[in-house]
């Protein structure tokens, strides 16, 4: 099942209610209901991602903070549940038709993986082979896996501002190992910015769809 876009939009208020339900019942019902309407699982991810972004913005708004730590924890937990439910519904791509290999991971010191997981699923279902290193990944592990898999792309994620500088260390390690230019690097996550990406000489993906487009352009550019 891959699903189709139906054009039916869910309002943000409903998505927030689903994401902030501490019992986790509403997220299951929401995903099942959307799937039963044959809505593309990506579309459902995107709808939920809009809610997560709204909560993130409300949490970070210093003038009028609308969301708190508990909202972040519960919405994150519900998003993980959504990933579990939606992942099996995503169309698999045969190995022979794979577009490229991508190593992904959340950098050292950071254990947040929701954004990275959504990005990995988006890539996989669009023909990429993804090697997911998980969270709290050391620069040496990133480099070893890129070499071992002969990866085309390395994707790094960070949610915490304190862990963003580590991305630069990974880039330095890649250069040290002679991988500069051989592997394309893309970064994303709430704490990253376009400016920072430019500064360290890599590409910025503002969300999973933008990240996918940029990964496609990397591999298409090579052909």
């Amino acid at each position: 099942m891959g699903g189709e876009k139906t054009g039916e939009k869910v309002d943000l208020k409903k998505i927030l209610e689903v994401l902030l339900d501490f019992k986790g019942k509403k997220i299951r019902e929401f995903c099942q209901e959307r799937l039963s309407k044959n809505i593309d699982p990506y579309e459902i991810f995107n709808e939920l991602s809009l809610g997560l972004e709204e909560i993130g913005r409300g949490y970070e708004n210093k003038e009028f903070q609308r969301y708190f730590t508990s909202d972040l924890i519960v919405s994150g937990k519900n998003m993980k549940t959504a990933i579990e439910i939606l992942k099996p519904h995503i169309k698999k791509v045969e190995d022979a038709k794979r577009k490229g290999k991508v190593v992904v991971g959340t950098v050292k010191g950071d254990v947040h993986d929701i954004g990275k997981n959504i990005f990995a699923i988006t890539l996989e279902s669009n023909g990429f082979e993804v090697i997911d290193l998980g969270v709290d990944v050391d620069k040496k592990v990133f480099v070893e896996k890129v070499k071992e898999a002969n990866a085309d792309i390395l994707g790094m994620s960070a949610l915490l501002t304190t862990t963003v500088p580590y991305m630069e260390e990974v880039v330095r390690e890649l250069k040290k190992e002679g991988l500069n230019g051989k592997v394309k690097v893309i970064i994303g996550g709430r704490a990253t910015t376009e400016e920072f990406a430019k500064k360290i000489g890599v590409t910025y993906g503002k969300d999973s769809i933008d990240g996918l487009k940029k990964c496609l352009s990397f591999v298409e550019g090579e052909k």
Binding site: L20, D21, F22, R66, Y67, F68, T69, S70, I73, V74
Partner: protein, 312 residues
């Protein structure tokens, strides 16, 4: 006792659910969700509500709030700017006491002092436990009644000395969020010989999102409420097992040295976050260490003179 709950968000919802499940359902007579949107929707033409609300809070008490008289008003996780509404609400509900826990700095009422004064003027007692699971007892009869069942965790534990496992773990007082009950279930048959493994298990289960209830307090290293809540839980379990607690470790260190600087003792007892391999470490948050110091001084067990501590 008749309890009214004014809440917002998953944290409040989790606590209400836990209290209802633990036999308080018939005492909760009113539950009202109070969010900034509640006020904004009732005053659509006003632009600067948040600067006006503290000047004239009575005018902003939600019209949709059901007026049901009660003894205790619980305020759970509402927005910091809505705190000013609590004194007029408490008056309308004719409450005798207000329990306004703070599990996240961002929800701490901006005008805590004036809320206290306003309530005092109305003859209403108020307490702000921070975090909620620090609450143990109160001079107020209604809060004290509540604290018999919910607040600082307390257990009765039986050990199986042959198998070296925790045999029975009974919750005497649950945390308001219900995490203590969930952790207690995970500890039955857990080995106690390896203290580091036991400690890690307790802290992990305390905020395990896979459990029915788990700690949702703030976890900023600069304001470690979740870590403090974890410490209180660990110490309650260790006390019930007859193992050394942070308090007994503090007393032992002071006894060994005769006199010790507060900062030096903090470095020993708190150490680095999560470094449970360190045998001297007894708690994870500096807040817990200072809470216990205050308690030991009040209990008359230690004396603090300037920055030095000694046994009383």
């Amino acid at each position: 006792m008749r309890i009214c709950v004014i809440y917002s968000g998953p944290l409040g919802e989790q606590m209400i659910n836990n209290m209802a499940m633990k036999g308080y359902g018939d005492q909760i007579v009113n539950v009202f969700e109070l969010k900034p949107e509640t006020i904004e929707e009732e005053h659509p033409s006003e632009t600067d509500i948040w600067s006006k609300i503290w000047e004239n809070p009575e005018e902003y008490v939600p019209k949709s709030l059901p007026i049901v008289e009660c003894d205790l008003l619980l305020v759970l996780g509402i927005h910091s700017k809505l705190g000013d509404l609590i004194p007029p609400i408490a008056e309308k509900l004719r409450v005798k006491a207000v329990l306004y826990p703070i599990d996240d700095r961002a929800t701490a009422p901006e005008a805590r002092k004036s809320i206290e004064e306003d309530l005092e003027e109305k003859g209403i007692h108020v307490e702000f436990p921070e975090p909620f699971c620090i609450l143990e007892k109160s001079e107020n009869e209604f809060i004290n009644e509540f604290a018999k069942k919910f607040g600082r965790p307390k257990f009765e534990i039986k050990l199986d000395e042959e198998k070296k496992v925790l045999k029975e773990v009974k919750v005497v007082r649950d945390t308001p969020c219900g995490s203590a009950s969930c952790v207690s279930k995970k500890l039955v048959n857990f080995p106690y010989n390896d203290k580091e493994a036991l400690i890690r298990k307790i802290y992990d289960e305390h905020h395990n999102e896979g459990n029915e209830n788990y700690c949702l307090a703030e976890m900023d290293p600069n304001y470690p409420l979740m870590q403090e809540a974890g410490d209180l839980l660990k110490d309650a379990i260790f006390e019930a097992c007859g193992f050394p607690t942070t308090k007994t470790v503090i007393l032992d260190r002071i006894r060994e040295t005769g006199e010790i600087e507060v900062k030096k003792l903090e470095e020993i007892v708190v150490g680095k976050p999560g470094d449970w391999k360190n045998p001297d470490k007894a708690c994870d948050a500096d807040r817990t260490f200072y809470l216990y110091l205050d308690e030991l001084v009040k209990e008359g067990k230690i004396v603090r003179v300037d920055d030095k501590l000694r046994l009383a």
